[in-house]
C-alpha cells in the first residue's frame, strides 16, 4: 500500500484493464512480395511535418496509416557538471496513447539510436552541451518496435535538421524481417544494425539479401527526406 504512485490519479485499485477476446480472423501469412508492396505504399503515404512543437529547438511529426511519431529536439543546451569537449546526446522514447512497449525495450532502442546519432551529429561543434531528443510514439498499431526504427531514425534526423544542429549526413535505415540496418553515405556505410526476432538461416546470402533490401528502403526514405527538405527550403525562400 505504501508503494503506490502518489503522483498519479490511479482510480480504484481493484480495477482490471479491459481485455478483448481475440477475434479469430484469419491472419494469413503475407507473402514477401506483398510485404514489399506494402512498404512502398507506406512510403507513399508517409507525411512529414517539421517545426510542429513550439517549446523546443526542432521537431518533426512523421505519420503513416500505422503510426504517428513526434520527435522533439531540445538543445544544444548547457549541461551541468564537468567540462565535456563534445556534445552529449540523450534520446528518450516514450509510449504514447497505449503502453505498447516495456520501458526496458524502449531504453534498449534509445541507446542503440544514441549510438547512431553519435556518429552522425557533428558533436565536436557542441562542447559542454547536451542535445536531448524525445520521441513520442503517439500512435503505433504494429506493436513491433523494429518496424518503427527506420522512421525513428528518420524523425530524429529531420528534427535535428529543423533544430539547426549540424549532422554529417542524412541518416535512415530499412527493415526486413525484424532486422534493421541503418546507413549513411548513400548506403556505403552502415552506422547501425539491429537484430530483433529476425532470423538469418546461418546463411551469408540471406544476410546480404536482407542487407540489400534494407539499403533499397534506405535510399527510398532518404530521397523522401531530401525532397521534403528541398521543398521546405523552397517554401521558405518564397516567403
Amino acid at each position: 500500500m505504501n508503494v503506490q504512485d502518489r503522483r498519479r490519479l490511479l482510480g480504484p485499485s481493484a480495477a482490471k484493464p479491459i481485455v478483448f477476446t481475440t477475434v479469430t480472423s484469419e491472419t494469413t501469412k503475407v507473402s514477401e512480395q506483398e510485404q514489399q508492396e506494402q512498404k512502398q505504399n507506406e512510403t507513399a503515404a508517409l507525411t512529414i511535418k517539421s517545426g510542429v512543437v513550439e517549446n523546443c529547438n526542432g521537431s518533426t511529426l512523421i505519420e503513416s496509416s500505422k503510426f504517428s511519431l513526434l520527435t522533439s529536439v531540445y538543445g544544444p543546451k548547457s549541461i551541468r557538471g564537468s567540462f565535456t569537449s563534445q556534445g552529449t546526446i540523450t534520446i528518450q522514447l516514450k509510449n504514447g496513447v497505449v503502453e505498447n512497449y516495456q520501458t526496458t525495450e524502449l531504453k534498449e532502442v534509445s541507446s542503440w539510436l544514441v549510438g547512431i546519432f553519435n556518429s552522425v551529429v557533428n558533436l565536436e561543434n557542441y562542447p559542454k552541451s547536451g542535445i536531448d531528443i524525445f520521441v513520442n510514439l503517439i500512435i503505433d498499431k504494429q506493436g513491433d518496435i523494429s518496424k518503427l526504427i527506420p522512421f525513428l531514425i528518420m524523425g530524429i534526423c529531420l528534427a535535428l535538421v529543423d533544430g539547426g544542429i549540424e549532422i554529417i549526413d542524412i541518416v535512415t535505415g530499412g527493415e526486413v524481417n525484424g532486422n534493421v540496418v541503418s546507413f549513411t553515405r548513400n548506403g556505403e556505410e552502415i552506422v547501425g544494425f539491429w537484430k530483433d526476432h529476425g532470423e538469418f538461416d546461418n546463411n551469408d546470402d540471406d544476410l546480404m539479401n536482407d542487407l540489400e533490401k534494407c539499403k533499397k528502403q534506405y535510399l527510398e526514405y532518404k530521397n523522401l527526406m531530401i525532397n521534403y527538405l528541398l521543398e521546405q527550403k523552397k517554401q521558405k525562400d518564397n516567403s
Binding site: 503522483r7 498519479r8 490519479l9 490511479l10 482510480g11 480504484p12 481493484a14 480495477a15 482490471k16 484493464p17 479491459i18 481485455v19 478483448f20 477476446t21 477475434v23 480472423s25 510542429v52 512543437v53 513550439e54 517549446n55 523546443c56 521537431s59 496509416s65 513526434l70 522533439s72 531540445y74 540523450t90 528518450q92 504514447g96 496513447v97 497505449v98 536531448d132 524525445f134 513520442n136 503517439i138 500512435i139 498499431k141 506493436g143
Partner: protein
C-alpha cells in the same frame, strides 16, 4: 588612494523583442499592452482558434480497418489544437467489481458506502474519470506539479460537473454460451428484453446470470505537446470532446465462470473461494457512453493586469506631455482584461486570473477567481462571463 577621475558613459541597451521577452517577460508584456495588443498579436479579448480532429487516433469502434485493433483498448479520443499547442486525449477503460451492495436496488460502490446513510448525497450518484496529464517539456523524470494539479483538477471538475452518472458506467454483463457443437453465442440481458419472443433465452440467461456486479472505470491519458502557456482549458476541452466520442465495449462472462469455486487450505484450515473470473470484452459490440448532455460545458480563462505607466515606451510623451504629471498624481491604475492567456510573459506576469467552465446558457460547472495581482471587480467578472458563454457556444459547435 589616489584620485582618479573616471568617466563612465552609460549606453542604453536595446534588445530585439524576442530577447526582451525572454529576459524580462513582464516589461515586454507591459510594452505590448501599452501599445494596445498582446505579445501573441491577438486582441485583448480574442481567443485562439481551436481545431479538433476526431478519430485521427485509432479508435476501436471506428472505421472498418480499425476493427481488429482491439489491442489498443482505446474507448474514445480527441486531438485538440489551439495555437501552437496540441493536446491528445485518449480514454481507456477498466472494469471493477462492485464489491458491496445495499438492500435497495441500486448498486453502490465501495467508496461511497460511508455516504449510504445520507440519501441526500447528490454527488455520490456521479462518476468521474482518472486523468493522467503529461506535458512534454523536454525533460525526463518525475511528473511535475503542474501535471499533478491539472490531473486532479480535471478529476474534481468532472465529478462535480455531474457529467457522468454512475449508472452510465454499470456493466450490463452478457453471458457466453457454448452449445454442444462448440458454437459460442453471447447473450446480453438488454438485448433479450428487446426481443421479447425469445423468452426461452431469457430464462436461460436468468439461470446463469452472473451474481456479481461490475462497473466500468474510465481513464484519460492527456498528452500536451508544444506548451506555450497555461493548458488546463485545453486539457478540459479535449477531455470533454473525447468523452463525447467514447464508446463502452460490451462485456460478458463465460457461462462456466459464473459459479466457479476453488478450495484453499492454509495452516490446516480450508475454505472455498469463488474464483475471480475476469470479464471479457466483446470486440464487435459497443455502446455509446451515456453522458448527461445537459451538463456538457467548456473551459475558458481570462487574466487581468494593471498597466504600469513606467513600463510603457515613451512614444506617447509628445502627445500628453503636460498630462503626465497629473496622471501620476491621480494614480488611477488602469488595468486590462485579456482572454485566453498564452505565452510565457502572460503566464508569469498575470497573477489575477478568472477560469470558467460553463455552457452556452451560462450554466456554470466551475469557476476559479485568483486575485494575486490586480483587483478583480464585479464588472470584470461579468465581462468574463459574457465572453466565456460565447466561447462555449463556439466550442460546442465544433462537435458534429
Amino acid at each position: 588612494m589616489t584620485d582618479v577621475q573616471e568617466t563612465i558613459e552609460v549606453h542604453p541597451i536595446t534588445f530585439p523583442p524576442e530577447v526582451l521577452a525572454r529576459i524580462s517577460p513582464e516589461l515586454s508584456l507591459q510594452r505590448h499592452l501599452a501599445l494596445g495588443f498582446r505579445p501573441s498579436l491577438r486582441a485583448f479579448d480574442e481567443f485562439r482558434d481551436v481545431q479538433i480532429n476526431e478519430d485521427s487516433l485509432s479508435h476501436f469502434n471506428g472505421t472498418d480497418e480499425m476493427k481488429l485493433d482491439t489491442s489498443n483498448n482505446i474507448l474514445g479520443s480527441n486531438v485538440l489544437k489551439s495555437g501552437k499547442t496540441f493536446v491528445i486525449t485518449s480514454i481507456t477503460g477498466g472494469i471493477v467489481e462492485d464489491t458491496s451492495s445495499s438492500i435497495n436496488e441500486d448498486d453502490i460502490g465501495e467508496e461511497e458506502l460511508r455516504e449510504m446513510v445520507n440519501s441526500n448525497d447528490k454527488l455520490s450518484e456521479f462518476a468521474t474519470v482518472y486523468p493522467v496529464v503529461e506535458v512534454e517539456r523536454g525533460r525526463a523524470g518525475a511528473c511535475t506539479d503542474e501535471e499533478m494539479t491539472i490531473s486532479q483538477k480535471l478529476h474534481d471538475c468532472l465529478l462535480h460537473s455531474r457529467l457522468i452518472s454512475k449508472r452510465a458506467l454499470k456493466v450490463k454483463a452478457g453471458v457466453r454460451l457454448t452449445d454442444n457443437e462448440g458454437k459460442t453465442e453471447i447473450l446480453y440481458p438488454d438485448e433479450i428484453v428487446a426481443n421479447e419472443k425469445e423468452s426461452e433465452e431469457e430464462s436461460a440467461y436468468a439461470q446463469i446470470a452472473p451474481k456479481k456486479k461490475w462497473s466500468y472505470v474510465l481513464y484519460a491519458k492527456i498528452v500536451v505537446f508544444s506548451r506555450t502557456g497555461p493548458v488546463f482549458d485545453l486539457c478540459w476541452n479535449s477531455l470533454i470532446y473525447a468523452l463525447q466520442s467514447t464508446r463502452l465495449p460490451r462485456a460478458f462472462i463465460d457461462e462456466r465462470a459464473t459459479d466457479l469455486r476453488m478450495t484453499v487450505r492454509t495452516k490446516g484450515r480450508s475454505t472455498t473461494i469463488r474464483e475471480t473470473y475476469d470479464l471479457m470484452c466483446d470486440p464487435e459490440k459497443s455502446l455509446d457512453l451515456n453522458i448527461n448532455k445537459s451538463n456538457i460545458a467548456y473551459a475558458s480563462n481570462f487574466g487581468i493586469i494593471d498597466l504600469d505607466p513606467e513600463a510603457a515606451l515613451e512614444q506617447s510623451e509628445n502627445e500628453d506631455d503636460e498630462d503626465e504629471d497629473t496622471n501620476m498624481d491621480v494614480d488611477e491604475v488602469k488595468s486590462v482584461f485579456l482572454a485566453d492567456l498564452d505565452t510565457e510573459a502572460e503566464e508569469t506576469s498575470i497573477r489575477s486570473t478568472i477560469s470558467i467552465i460553463n455552457d452556452k446558457n451560462g450554466k456554470f460547472k466551475h469557476i476559479s477567481l485568483v486575485g494575486g495581482g490586480s483587483k478583480i471587480t464585479p464588472d470584470m467578472i461579468k465581462k468574463a462571463l459574457i465572453l466565456s458563454k460565447e466561447r462555449s457556444t463556439d466550442l460546442a459547435s465544433k462537435i458534429k
